[in-house]
Structures are given as structure tokens and as C-alpha cells.
Amino acid sequence: MTTTLVELSDLSMRYAAQLALDSLNLTIKSGAVLGLLGPNGAGKSTCLRLLVGIMRASGGQVRVFGKDVIANGTAVRQHIGYVPENPQLYPWMTVAEVMRFASAAYQNWSSSLADDLCRTFELPKDRRIKQLSQGMKVKAALLVALAHRPRLLVLDEPMSGLDPLARDELMEIFVDLKHQETECVIFSSHHIDDVTRIADEIAILNEGRLLVHESMEAMLLDTKRIEAVLVDGRLPGFDLPQVVWQYVNRRQWSVTVHPFDSSLINTLNASDAISSTSVEDLSLEQIFKDWIKGTKTQC
């Protein structure tokens, strides 16, 4: 039985006039590698920062390991490793000094693991943070996040600013985390390719709302695109259920459906307005785009 590790209840965040998150409800269980997808400004970073307790939400609650993340912030953060999008470590500190600083803060810091990671990441211990390249800075921040064996790892766009080789290195580490006492990984990314490979759960955010939260399997297997040819360009009189996105072009009616049910095809084929149908699988990128396009047209 898997335990619930993270629970976001009715989470809302308001910045002055703007509502960045709108009553978000999300439950993440132990063992998940969750990829958080969404266009820029969807609220991914805000969501992750609220999750770690860096910011206080305008409404709703965040519980991590069963504890409220604001009331028990420091206790909870002992077991969370967090890497923000543009990590800012003290620029005047050397890598070794950053490690020393962080080791004082985390009770579970493992110096041997920290040294291992330092070697794996090829971080020069005596180099100052401001002298490191962007990729090295991310690795240094990642070292701080990993060296205390966190139960939960939260990464905000970990691959941004990294060259393909550095991304490869990072992914190698990500697929192996569950074997080192990290129970759950949550990361946001624009690189859908990377997400497809390493995530086993997907959550899509848009304009502060959660559109869908599914296992990768269900996402890929149960989302299908139906292409129907309309006899004379007219849509049939009924609405299809569970439509993610649809588009009519001349006599071609494209509908992305989730979850797919083969009875839909029978319904469509039985209609006079439709002359033929075909069903296609979609890649995660196409599924993601359809979800976003779908919310835009449903205003």
C-alpha cells in the first residue's frame, strides 16, 4: 500500500491582481516520478514553491509527509531536496564551503555521498560559485539537494540552461533515485522528451488550473485521436464525452479523447453524418499540446 506523500488541497495563490493558482487539488503517492507540464506562466514554479513551503499560499493547504508545510516547515524541509530554476547559491562561497554550510543545516547529510556526488559531477571543490558555468551551478545545487538523502526531491526546470551532455548525465541520476531512499521525485520541464523517458506520472497545468493527472501509461494508452470524415461538413447532433480537444477542417473532424472507449467508434460509425473513422495513438508532446489547445477553446 503506497502512502500519500504530498497533498495539495484547494491550493490558490494570488499575486496582487493576478491569480497564479486556482484551487489546485493534487495527491502524489510515494514511489511516483511526477512530471509537471505546462506552458510558461501556467503556475508550475509557484506550485512547486508552495509545495516546499518557501511561500505561503493565499488559500488552501499543502501537506507533505502528512504535515502542514507552513506550520512544520523546517521539520518537513529536512527531508526535501529542492532545486529552483535558477539556483542562487552564495556566489562568494567555494563549492566546499557550500557543502559545509548545507551539511550544518541537514541532519541526514552524508559527507561520503556528498563527496561521491562531487566526483561524479566533476565539481572543483575550491572553485567559487560565481566562477562556475550554468551547468555546474545546477549540479552544485543538485548536490546540496541530494547529499542528505531526501525522501522527496523537487526540481524546477532542472534541465534549463544545460547542454545535451549535461542533461544526459542528470537523467542518468534521475532514473536511479528510487534506489537511494528518495521516495518521490517531482519535476517540472519543458523538455517533453525527457519527461516521457523518466516520468511515470504526468500532471498538466494551465493558467493556474490542473487539467489532468494520470499515470504515464494511462496518458499514452488511453488518449487517442479520432479522425472522422464528415459526410457534408456537418457535425453530428450529439457531443462526444471526455473530449480533450477537437477541430474541424473541411470534412475532417479531429477529436482527441481521454479516456478512450472503443464504443465511441461504434457510436460515431452509426451516425449518418460520418462516413468513416480512424483512431491514432499520440506522443506525449501531441497529447500535451491538445490538452492546452483544448482549454483555450473551451472558454
Binding site: 516520478v33 544526459d168 537523467m171 542518468e172 534521475f174 532514473v175 536511479d176 528510487k178 534506489h179 517533453i192 522528451d193 525527457d194 516521457t196 523517458r197 523518466i198 516520468a199 511515470d200 504515464m216 501509461e217 499514452l220 494508452l221 491514432e280 495513438d281 499520440l282 506522443s283 506525449l284 508532446e285 501531441q286
Partner: protein
């Protein structure tokens, strides 16, 4: 091993297909072990659950089997079902041809149909 996350073919299927091809063409010989779950996952940078699914698929097909905590081993077809060399070759060639057809996205129904037809044609020829 090349994985295309953009493809609409699930990643576990891509892994299984490529492993199957490697097994059938002798990259992994009978009684040799496949790379461990973690190792392969790290090598190709794919979630371990997905790699597990591919391994499960191959086990189901009877190509590999799990051995006492030592991992997955390629099944030695000869050892389990003693058959002649030609029977063996037939089995391997059929599996290769079918695997290739699967990769080329020929549907299972079509494969069965084509197989049935080919069987009919050849066996009736042989009976004459």
C-alpha cells in the same frame, strides 16, 4: 539502443522490440543474462518501471526467464524443447520475420492473416 520519445509507440515497446532483435540475432546468447534493470535504465535514461515492462513482455513471450535473483536470462530453446536443427531454424526465422513485421507496424490481425495464408499455400503445396 535508440529510444524515440516523440514516437506514438510506447517506450517499453521500443525497448522490447530492440531487445528482442538483439536476442534473436545472437547479441545475447542462450543462458546469458540481460543487463540488470537499473543498469539498462541508467544506460538509456528511462524510468525503471518502463524497462521492467519491457522485460515482462519478453518474459511473457518466452524469450527470457527470471532466475533466482540473478536477473533475466535468455532462454535456451534447445535445452527446453529438444528439436531438430531445422525446426530450431524455422522457429528462429519465423520469430525474426514476425518481429520485423511488428516493428514495421503491421497489425497483429494482418500478421495472423498473412501467416495463415502462407501456411495454407506452403502446406498444400507440400501435400501434393
Amino acid at each position: 539502443m535508440i529510444i524515440d520519445p516523440q514516437s506514438s509507440k510506447p517506450i517499453f515497446e521500443q525497448i522490447a522490440n530492440q531487445l528482442r532483435r538483439q536476442i534473436l540475432s545472437g547479441v545475447f546468447k542462450p543462458n546469458e543474462s540481460l543487463p540488470s534493470l537499473r543498469r539498462l535504465a541508467k544506460e538509456i535514461r528511462v524510468n525503471t518501471n518502463t524497462v521492467q515492462r519491457a522485460y515482462d513482455e519478453l518474459s511473457r513471450e518466452g524469450l527470457v526467464e527470471a532466475r533466482r535473483g540473478a536477473g533475466l536470462f535468455v532462454i535456451d530453446a534447445d535445452a527446453n524443447s529438444p528439436s531438430t536443427k531445422s525446426e530450431d531454424r524455422l522457429s528462429k526465422e519465423l520469430q525474426k520475420a514476425i518481429a520485423r513485421a511488428v516493428e514495421a507496424s503491421v497489425s497483429p490481425q494482418r500478421i495472423r492473416g498473412i501467416f495463415r495464408d502462407a501456411l495454407e499455400v506452403q502446406l498444400s503445396k507440400a501435400q501434393k
